[in-house]
């Protein structure tokens, strides 16, 4: 049996509580509060205690999907990326970069947000970047 605890941060509200993910033989089995963390000092709310449950949900997406004949169908990464890149490039060519919008996210990491806005600005060429801070 291989049991590990991995320190991380809760991804629900903006408190930023320290959590410990419990991993048994590569499976996520629980969430514990981090005792030394400056925000939560060993406590969690009901959402935090159940943080792992959404991760292990059988409703998770496990593959990219592409709409074919009006239905979303599983696809390979190469296909999903290629289709998106081609269609985005065609739209940019026909209507200009400002015909594209990118919604970045309060759920993803700083690194990913940095990269997403870099993608909008440097790759697409638009400042149409926003996220749900207002919502």
């Amino acid at each position: 049996m291989d049991y590990k605890i991995i320190p991380s941060i809760c991804s629900y509200c903006g408190c930023g509580c320290g959590v410990l993910f419990q991993v048994l033989d590569g499976r996520l089995t629980g969430t514990l509060p981090m005792k030394t963390h400056p925000v939560n000092q060993g406590k969690l709310c009901i959402k935090g205690w159940n943080l792992h449950e959404h991760v292990i949900s059988d409703k998770r997406l496990t593959s990219p999907m592409v709409k074919k004949d009006g239905q979303l169908q599983e696809a390979s990464w190469d296909e999903a990326i290629r289709i998106t890149a081609d269609r985005l490039q065609a739209i940019i060519k026909d209507h200009g970069p400002d015909s594209v919008g990118v919604l970045v996210s309060a759920k993803i990491t700083n690194e990913e947000n940095y990269l997403a806005q870099k993608f909008a600005r440097a790759v697409v060429g638009t400042n149409n970047v926003d996220h749900c801070a207002r919502l």
Binding site: I6, P7, S8, C10, S11, Y12, C13, G14, C15, G16, C17, G26, T36, H37, P38, L44, I46, G48, E53, H54, V55, R60, L61, T62, S63, P64, M65, L72, A80, I83, T84, R87, D98, V100, G101, L103, V104, A106, K107, I108, T109, N110, E111, E112, N113, Y114, L115, Q117, K118, F119, A120, R121, A122, V123, N127, D130, H131, C132, R134, L135
Partner: protein, 526 residues
Amino acid sequence: MTNSIAEIEDAACIFVIGSNTTVCHPLIARRIFRAKEKGAKLIVADPRNIHLARFADVAVTHRLGSDVALLNGIMHIIIKNDWHLKTYIQDRTEGFDEFKAVVEAYTPDKVEAITGVVRTDLERMAELYATNSPAALLYTMGITQHTTGVDNVKSCCNIAMLCGNVGVRSGGVNPLRGQNNVQGACDMGGLPNVFPAYQVVTVEGNNKKFAKAWGKELPDQVGYTITDMVQAMLDGKLKALYVIGENPKLSDPDQNHIITAFEKLELLVCQDIFLSETAEQADVVFAAVSVAEKEGTFTNSERRCLKVNKAIDPVGDALTDWEIISRLSTAMGYEMSYEGAEEIFQEMTPLTPSYAGMSYERLGLDGLQWPCPDSQHPGTEFLHANQFARGKGLFHGVEYLDPAEMPDDEYPYFLTTGRTFSHYHTGTMTRVSKNLDAEQKTGYVEIHPRDAEKLALQNGDTVNLTTRRGAIQAPARISEQVKPGLLFVPFHFAENPANALTNSAFDPIAKIPEYKVCAVKIEKAA
């Protein structure tokens, strides 16, 4: 937040307005209770009779959308009693005289007429806030999600400056962030007008700096906000939308309007961990990984950049968001190849002055609070210690304005929306959790017993709610958490979508929609 979460427990007074803290930020609420134990005074102002109000020294349920009038009324009394901090105002602020002239007109009688808060409560709030120092002011979307959201925030800043509470330990103006990395998404330039660290895109020097770093000429016009994007989709100007980790179909106001807007797109791409309501409508869906499957950082409400660590391998073929973006970018002819999240962090920090001194090694388990400008800097517990970002703090004289929609004969009730304790936002994460789902399985509408009696409603009866934008059905929950004339609907539930009802009227500056106020009709379902 100007200040830090831990500081709250040493405040002498805590003023909570438009924040259902025990429900939405439980581990911040804990600091409020700690402060109470140490003798702090607690003021709670919320249109609903929230849980935290039970512990308050004074709690008021002001009329929905009347925050500016309420705060002006409190400040009127503070100035009349000469409780304001004159040395602080003189040394650290400007615009006081103009502001004072505006507040002068907000007499207790006038404020009571607008807000429904009686004079004695106004006086008590003013006295507690002004005579117990330091006082921390906490707010969330109850302040911001209004057509007067910016006015509301300015009023919060006014009262904090009036009593010298900005730039002091355990004081401050503290918006509590609703999502784990809203702060970081803003800090990283996930906004149409700024690069990382709020470097404005229209300033030539900033534009050149990023153009050089990224090896590409960059647009120098401000882009669309999310609110503008919806209109641009309807007008046919925005043809493609790439949505990462969001569910605008449930989270945006006026849902029917959004669905029509999405139908007009040529390309909708969604990147998510679940097939959200928005993803169901997409042309392409990218499967992303959850928090437990990746490395990176989140920045919490108190500006603390915290390290997230990978606990398990990705589920199925899912990829991290940064890998998906890199692959898409490379496919579009701009190569992005990173070894891992840390390499991206190292590219970001030299371009982002407030994060410049951070590294994964330095973050450790406790993280670092920005600004952290160099590798020796310990991080910053509270902002504006010696001066404000702009030099002197600016008072704004703010006049009260009605919400965009007020009840009338046809739509006689006020409607407000919010979260519940066991669910989160559009429910994609919490409703798949057995334990959280068990706490609350469906949406509902809170209605005061007196109103329920008028409509001959029993607990659990299905009601129809109708606004000028749409209609939903939901079971009634008879509760004194709302006042007569006010209804509350949580927005987590796709089958009773609160945002089919809400008003997309928005603040002219912040472009934030008025989720918190609209007029609604309620009928018992046949």
